[in-house]
């Protein structure tokens, strides 16, 4: 299949096969997840040598560990002997990792150190240096977020993020101390294709009024009043090179408790030192974005969540959502952030539940033998983007799909590459 034909860049359509076809999914595992920068966690989760965590890059289980030289290393979590996962816990601190099957043991630099019965069974003929854990060649970070890339030839993370860094800084660099991850991860399963989640955070503000209407009715969602009559520089979306997208809007929603409001004042004051003048005015309100391919970020009601939409087949997503908080935030601010994130955007989140309720539906419908012939419309705002000096990207008022379709334009480029 010519995967690039799934995206019609003239008519701004996406073919249903992009969302349910097992062949497309398999190709994606290589052409997207095999070559793009994938978020594997936050530096603050691994403060000391020997600290490790396990996660997945695409569907591949990886072991992330800080080595004795304090470098973050990433390895395929699979023994070179029979392939068993050498680390079967989520996180911890270790000097070495022993495969449970036959006992091959690797150190925190991935080297094969221990082989039971090396002399008797292998006759001293096993070259241990040749059987290290397979290392993921590229590991880089941005403002504490850790990324890895299976492609040794990939552009740097810095180049990949490009103009998106300017927007990510609105959340990750708005205070002097930067952010740390709260302990624990919200992990839950949803029906649907991973791209549906990524595209939505990357620029679909349009869904809020309908899908999250229950939240507007109980006073926790942005009401429809902000649409249309506010200056486009305040409430806008940005389409960035590299398939990234950003939504920024300044709609007051309820009142934050006094200690949290006081803390946010501190943050905005510090932002005057850490951010450029054009950025400082955007620290208020709500920020939502997607870093291509499957990392999204949301700052809302005093909390910051980053989440990875792990693909689990064309029709299933495993969400791993982390909570970030300013390193210097006082305990009551941390608690408020943790509670609000859990209430709204989490495994039990009263916003997030409704997103999960439709993504599975989309994929089930699109795979119908008839429905699959009719493409999906992503044309909203096409050709109406504008530029603003000092602010990166192609910009548009809320709502638009220029950022959402930008995600697919970039996906198309990834998928068109021969492997």
């Amino acid at each position: 299949m010519q995967y690039k034909t799934l995206i019609d860049v003239e008519r701004c359509t996406v073919h249903p096969r992009a969302f349910f076809d097992p062949d497309v999914y398999e190709a994606e595992q290589d052409r997207v997840f095999g070559h793009q920068w994938l978020c594997i966690g936050h530096e603050s989760q691994l403060p000391e040598p020997g600290d490790f965590l396990t996660t997945t890059m695409g569907e591949e289980s990886v072991l992330v560990v800080r080595d004795p030289k304090r470098r973050i290393r990433v390895f395929l979590n699979s023994c070179r002997h029979r392939g068993t996962r050498v680390c079967r816990v989520d996180s911890g601190r270790a000097r070495n990792f022993m495969c449970p099957y036959h006992g091959w043991t690797y150190d925190t630099e991935g080297r094969l150190r221990g082989v039971p019965q090396l002399r008797e069974a292998y006759h001293e003929e096993l070259d241990r240096d040749a059987w290290s854990l397979v290392e993921v060649p590229r590991v880089e970070s941005f403002r504490g977020l850790l990324f890895a890339n299976f492609d040794a030839e990939a552009v740097s993370l810095d180049d990949h993020l490009g103009d998106m860094k300017w927007y990510l800084d609105l959340v990750l660099h708005r205070s002097r101390g930067g952010t740390v991850a709260l302990p624990g991860v919200h992990r839950w399963r949803l029906g649907g294709n991973w791209k549906l989640a990524a595209e939505q955070f990357g620029g679909d503000n349009y869904h809020t009024g309908a899908l999250h209407q229950s939240m507007i009715k109980i006073g926790l969602g942005p009401s429809g009043d902000y649409r249309g009559d506010r200056p486009w520089e305040v409430d806008f979306e940005a389409k960035l090179e590299g398939g990234h997208g950003w939504i920024n809007f300044d709609v007051p929603i309820g009142e934050l408790p006094p200690p949290v409001e006081k803390w946010m004042e501190t943050v905005r004051r510090e932002a005057r030192e850490t951010l450029a003048p054009e950025q400082q005015g955007l620290v208020h309100g709500i920020q939502v974005g997607t870093v291509f391919p499957n990392l999204s970020i949301l700052a809302f009601l005093g909390f910051v969540t980053i989440r990875v939409w792990h693909p689990r087949g064309p029709r299933a997503i495993e969400v791993w959502s982390y909570g970030l908080i300013e390193r210097d935030a006082p305990p009551e601010v941390r608690e408020f952030a943790r509670k609000m994130q859990t209430l709204t955007f989490s495994s039990s989140g009263i916003f997030e539940q409704d997103d999960g309720a439709v993504w599975g539906d989309v994929v089930d419908s699109l795979s119908g033998a008839q429905r699959r012939h009719y493409p999906l419309n992503y044309s909203m705002g096409h050709g109406h983007g504008r530029r603003k000096p000092g602010r990166p990207g192609l910009l548009h008022t809320l709502s638009t799909e220029i950022g959402v379709f930008g995600f697919y334009e970039y996906w198309r480029r990834c998928m068109a590459k021969p492997t």
């Binding site: 816990v89 989520d90 029906g191 982390y322 943790r338 509670k339 994130q341 859990t342 409704d354 089930d364």
Partner: protein, 168 residues
């Protein structure tokens, strides 16, 4: 406490927890809410795969699947009543199965800790049939209006969980 009193107390909580389960399955959420004290902590730790005995369930500032006070529980119910809570509209069908009810300490006649196992079946829209299994640890306080729950810890037997659109 005499054995007769202990049996009576356990019977009382079995009745209470069965009634609560019926209210949830029948969508009588406002009545369900009344069981909770105004100071309630309703929470559910996230589970982690770590060596035996090392799971940090009580760690400070740790993310949880639920971290609700009374106000948050009321918001969840209020949302369900808007008619636009799409994850539960049309509503899922649930069945709460309560077993293994144990009164853990009942020496203070006004405050009791109660453990129970809970299995919840949920189905919706011709597909998506799931089971949630958990241990509940409650702390109940005797009031003039009856027992009120001051704390409920829901310990799910899942590390990666299905979307939690229902109450436990």
């Amino acid at each position: 406490m005499s054995e007769t009193d202990a049996r009576a107390l356990r019977f009382e909580f079995e009745e209470l927890l069965y009634r609560e389960a019926a209210w949830l399955d029948e969508g009588r959420f406002e009545e369900w809410l009344e069981l909770f004290d105004s100071t309630v902590r309703y929470w559910a730790p996230v589970r982690e795969n770590v060596p035996r005995g090392e799971e940090p369930l009580e760690e400070l500032h740790r993310l949880t699947h639920f971290e609700d006070d009374k106000g948050n529980l009321e918001l969840r119910v209020k949302r369900l009543r808007t008619g636009f809570a799409h994850a539960e509209e049309p509503p899922s069908r649930t069945r709460h199965f309560v077993t293994n009810v144990r009164v853990l300490d009942g020496d203070d006649s006004d405050r009791v800790s109660v453990a129970s196992n809970l299995l919840v079946f949920r189905s919706r829209e011709r597909r998506d049939e799931v089971l949630f299994s958990c241990d509940r640890r409650d702390r109940w306080r005797r009031t003039q209006a009856g027992w009120r729950c001051e704390e409920r810890r829901i310990l799910f037997d899942h590390d990666v969980i299905e979307s939690l659109t229902v109450l436990f």
